[in-house]
Symmetry: D2
Amino acid sequence: MTTGDPTIGDPTTGPGQGYWYAEDKQALLGRLRRIEGQVRGVHRMVAEDTYCIDVLTQISAATRALQAVALGLLEGHLAHCVVDAAQDGGDPSAKVREASDAIARLVRS
Amino acid sequence: MTTGDPTIGDPTTGPGQGYWYAEDKQALLGRLRRIEGQVRGVHRMVAEDTYCIDVLTQISAATRALQAVALGLLEGHLAHCVVDAAQDGGDPSAKVREASDAIARLVRS
Amino acid sequence: MTTGDPTIGDPTTGPGQGYWYAEDKQALLGRLRRIEGQVRGVHRMVAEDTYCIDVLTQISAATRALQAVALGLLEGHLAHCVVDAAQDGGDPSAKVREASDAIARLVRS
Amino acid sequence: MTTGDPTIGDPTTGPGQGYWYAEDKQALLGRLRRIEGQVRGVHRMVAEDTYCIDVLTQISAATRALQAVALGLLEGHLAHCVVDAAQDGGDPSAKVREASDAIARLVRS
């Protein structure tokens, strides 16, 4: 993963219309941008020798914010990918398994 | 993973000598820079309409990396702040309470 | 919740046929019985003044075991309750929301 | 919540005087007894085919209660074992490492 690309994160370049989170996409991108800023803030705190307990408080806030984004994505996955697979008359078990594995990773992270 | 700009948040400008994590500071700053890149990568994945399960995998990786940094900071806090307070002949209970509160926030985040 | 009842936990008295976890019910009940034993073991360790780090190890094991049960129940909920609601031609959104709330509680617990 | 049998795992038989949690021991044992009852309650809910979301809510409550006990034990470990090791003029690093490992297991469980 390299991030030196000047076009990074430009939300207007993605196809953006076809996927379920298109409707919430700007809000989601804004939240991720803020979390990136939180992590950059943690970096700055360490660079400036901030007291470690205060650094830990900021890390917990960033972690919680990431988990909140993950929970929102999971709900969208259930509401769109799993439900769509079930309603298409196909076998939704692969989607269910994927969702379950993602939940397990999230609970254990 | 490179961030393309080595001058952002220049870690060499902090006082850096007086605090316990001075010895590990460059490694710690490098880890935080990589996590910042991970979050930026998540942002890009959403911008490009990446399948949500893959986005969740990246979020879990970033969350785990943040927690690993937090665990390292906590160990440093115990080894330096708590132990120093105890060895100074003072009352280390305030440091213990701070550490405990930080652990609780971390476990619950 | 009272537990003085001698019939407690008798898996043969439940209706057991109508609910999705009927098929896995004996295995699930066995896992919960073992977790109950783990918690009882933690109690005994404290009663016997076992070194606190060893008690913590046992508590972590019991916590992980409870989370594994929860993950199994969640997967069942998705595979049965959410998918059934979607396939019945009704609106599965209430089931999706319930599942999402349960996932959030689990991630934050 | 009552367990109906005060003699199970009789907490009065431990030595109970020598270890740091002696002072809080009865409260700690009471909390563990209640958690054991919560797990038994989860078992009964499954035996009676309770709706899985309600079972999950109880599992989350038991998990949180276990984590609260663990956090209390950790704080005691820091306040007693780590601080005592530091004040004894010895090397507290083994105690710090044990505590850090226990915190890591707890955060990841």
